[in-house]
Symmetry: C2
Subunit: 689 residues, 2 copies
Amino acid sequence: MSRPHPLHSITAEEITKASTLLKAILRERHGPDFKFRFKNVSIQEPPKALLLPYLDAEAAGVDTRYRPFVPRCADIVWTSSHERTLCQSTISLDSFTEVGRIQAAPGQHSSLDRDEMRKSARRILDDNLVKEAIKKLKLPESCVVQCDCWPYGADRDSTLETHKYIQGLLYARAPNGHPESNQYSFPLPFSPVLDIFEDKIVRLEPLASGGKEDGLKYHTATEEPMAHCVENEYYPGLQSSKTRDDVKPLHVEQPEGPSFTVTDTNCVSWQKWRIRVGFNYREGLTLHDIRYDGRPMFYRLSISEMTVPYGDPRSPFHRKQAFDLGDAGAGSTANNLALGCDCLGTIKYFGGWLNNEDGEPVEAGNVICLHEQDGGIGWKHTNHRTQGVAITRARNLIFQSILTVGNYEYIFAWIFWQNGNIEMETRATGILSTSLIDPGKTSEWGNVVSPGVLAANHQHLFSLRVDPMLDGHNNSLIQEESIPVPQSEDENPHGNAWRVVKTPFAKSGFADASPFTNRCFKIVNESMRNPVSGNPVGFKLVPQPCQLLLAGQNSVVRKRARFAEHHMWVTRYRDGDLWAGGRWTNQSLQETDGVADYASRDEDVRDQDIVIWHTFGMTHNPRVEDFPVMPVEVSTISLKPADFFTANPALDVPQSTQAVNKSTLVVQSHPGVSHKPTPSSAGCCHARL
Amino acid sequence: MSRPHPLHSITAEEITKASTLLKAILRERHGPDFKFRFKNVSIQEPPKALLLPYLDAEAAGVDTRYRPFVPRCADIVWTSSHERTLCQSTISLDSFTEVGRIQAAPGQHSSLDRDEMRKSARRILDDNLVKEAIKKLKLPESCVVQCDCWPYGADRDSTLETHKYIQGLLYARAPNGHPESNQYSFPLPFSPVLDIFEDKIVRLEPLASGGKEDGLKYHTATEEPMAHCVENEYYPGLQSSKTRDDVKPLHVEQPEGPSFTVTDTNCVSWQKWRIRVGFNYREGLTLHDIRYDGRPMFYRLSISEMTVPYGDPRSPFHRKQAFDLGDAGAGSTANNLALGCDCLGTIKYFGGWLNNEDGEPVEAGNVICLHEQDGGIGWKHTNHRTQGVAITRARNLIFQSILTVGNYEYIFAWIFWQNGNIEMETRATGILSTSLIDPGKTSEWGNVVSPGVLAANHQHLFSLRVDPMLDGHNNSLIQEESIPVPQSEDENPHGNAWRVVKTPFAKSGFADASPFTNRCFKIVNESMRNPVSGNPVGFKLVPQPCQLLLAGQNSVVRKRARFAEHHMWVTRYRDGDLWAGGRWTNQSLQETDGVADYASRDEDVRDQDIVIWHTFGMTHNPRVEDFPVMPVEVSTISLKPADFFTANPALDVPQSTQAVNKSTLVVQSHPGVSHKPTPSSAGCCHARL
């Protein structure tokens, strides 16, 4: 078998080979009874210095046989003796040797994996202490109690170094509830903490269910504390309301097939774009070696991390802070997408490979979907003198991936435009994380979204990682602002002028959004000038001016997620600097080797190989409408060419005509109304040249 | 013929009747030679006090015959004796009498209309002074010079009271250019000012074509100042680049027709929504009497005004400030939309009626289109325990209207979601307003987008007007912010908590966006409580934190557009308070009777009939990519229910299944690649209940 492309995600064969090798090495060194566990087996992306010449050769049309050799390595995260030791091994897939191993420091813990969570949930529910506590709640006999395993979060707690915990959040299904019954409307008022290393329940933590009047105190225990909770279903067939029957079918058809082609398994060509698709357990969907019309644009695009801190101060809720990539993994939790359900139109799927705790490959089915969408009008102008119309519709290319992280889902979509724009769209949906609230009470820390159900305020803060290569690998980052010029006879006699003030970054560091000064950030190549404007070729990123971390300056929450302290970071590229919140986020007491550390190296970033990081997201104070399942909350970040091209790159998109688009005219007749289509309905197309 | 619904836009018959009556009145009073001119004939919307009982009766299902009588009046804007007098007459269409007349104050000027602009352009180009000045430019013989008529803008100029001007912006078509050739790449370096009352060219204003090195000075005259300009075409067939041939057709089909129905000409019912569509010359598309599942939501939604100030300080560029609604009219400039060109799918069109200078009706063809779109995933959750998937796709309903205001176009779309969201999407496209720049020079006041072509920095600031009636007509506006709670043992021991601070508006006034405190504004009905949360039922508006007016405190630009000084305004409802920038914006020296004046009445707005105004938009410092025609710049404002409903209103949307959606799987085979669809491609649907 030929070697996969250096940017191909790991194959089943490679997982097996790498795991088998590591097993052999460990058994040889530590004996046949040595206990260890595979966490994640993935590809270690090649060093840029080796990969770049390969990609440039590829772009230049050099045949595979004559491209430079790029080593291919697997990255294995594993733990020994019940996770007390956490290691990362690098396995050469060329020489079949372990070429490197790093042992994590005490207090650094690996992410939670599915096997672990499934087993832990069972362990918790089977525990006698837990069973007894459930009995005291006097739930109806027919209620099934279920357990969601959460990362423990962190606190000033000296045991975190040597213990790894899981926080069990317990919920009941409605009496006689279907397996798909919505457990989140029956939250139990206590939470078991499981010590994974010791395999025992450490304690049951009572959960406050009081209201405004109770401050930080816990609820007043009642005989049947959950008696006021009611069934509130989202699953089809279980909902109390009738399904709408007036949504008429809408089909998207491409009779000649899609406009994209996929070659070499993961190389997508579409409308002058060329993009390599990647997938790994941690970041899920990644995009590489993005070129337009042959010009290099971006070396790598990814969502690097996210943190979801909750705002309820009542212990242990204060520890609720998920790092959905570092604690769980966007690839590990990626949905297997289904034709006609998750995606509409003409769809191409990409799969990937994950692994189980024994290091065996586990197929991750359709984890990425690719399709085209109509993007509405792309550009239009009517000549008012002649009424001559020129109009195009925008066609977009969408890479989509969906994560289920416990109760929540995130839909990530990279959207490519013919006009050179790249958008990162996130849709937050799924189910709110809930806790019990006493009857009749309300809370300062969230909203009552169903009887007895409090949905706590929380934030979702994402880190978008942009590794540019605009016409070459040495780029700069420039902050631009529009600043009024003071009124004066010499410069601005009428007071209408402003100046675009440009501030390049000399050293790695950070900056914040500033929408009222129209602050934007331009990634530019200062050695390449736009022949029309004379400006360096560039791309623009307008940071989303989201509210940043609300947690206090000295809080553990903040120390763990320093990436979320600023909207923008610029760092000098180094191999492996991939994770904004650091490699090991689970139970971390502080962000280690995250973007704040990368930035603090104080390196030169002007006309260098740089990486840009953008923190975006939202403060989500829940609405009643967000329950029992949340309508998508959509948020979009754009990268737009800014003097990268010499004209509108979508200028050459064919005109939008009825001959191609085949739309249908609605002529509805109702009593007293006659609708006569005006002659112009026949189409602007007639007036065309 | 039965009387039209009170919210029906004016009919051809009504225009004729009202104009004929006014003509008769004026001729009778002033004699048969009295010279006057019709500017705009439209419906004067009925007083709310009269219309409301009618709408409530209608909503209650009362037959037309038994609903209260609502008078129907035409609103005629007209001028006498070459516009020196500007009047607005109210004509009762029931009694055929002039029931009111207002004479505008000196200095208040009507908008420019198409007849006027066409005639003025001819007048300017035929002028000998102009012809002579053109000759001096030594353009090739085959260049045709064309004139765009601009509002003069304003300056501290005492003649503005008694004179009405047009500023001619002159451009040449490329040598031997086609009538559709892009004139904006050949901007002439002088601008004639036409006095409309006097019907004469007042002066030719030289236009600066210098660069950074020239400050406010004008260009150094050269022999052939435009010799470095080159053809830069956008029109199909004229472009120098070949049209792309790899965009495959994409059809949107609704085999069972659309999910909406239209009754009574302009009443749209769709997915529990009911909406009345309106159209008038000034605002274009308006929406009225919006209800969901029978519950009143919004009395009226509209774009009320926009201002486009330019940032070039060199006179006369400083006067470039268009009010595209007040100076031109979103209805007057609305495109006649074409099936398959402007709209894709199954499309319903609405037409309207405008008038010419003689008061005769002029059909405005398909000025509004209505269709459904797939809105991507609406909500999804996967039960991680069972892998049971629940997923819906969002269906959206779109009302779209497109304006061409000289060089620019705006695409306005109101987007309704099944989940209760209402979005206002604007797409700015069209062609940049350009001026000449000397060879090799660059400017601080804009960007060189084509050889010799400077596109000046400018702003687009819109005013969205929201007249709510959430479960009744007395509503309140509440500002909400998420503010960290100081860390303390008593309240926030771990530093993770924040508080949602709510500040109701007691008096009419304004506020600004504040994204870093997560500021949002909730329109609520304090007498109606959500039974689940106990909060007042409401809708949320997160203001777009755009950069506001950049013009200086004492500038005329700012005085004319005070609505653009703040992001949010709340006013007490009064009939006729419709225009954020005041009724008469053309050549205004200050905003008169605009939203700042409405707000300064200092009226009680808590639990009252209120109106909310949101200023949004962008500072547009042009990119080279924005020429020769600009890719759409998209911006969206959302109104979202916030504790208005007792659950996700889109909960009952049917599940997304392949059986209905009929998507197509792409199986591409390429050398060395075999793609086998995984079993799950068959659809999540199989796992369904």
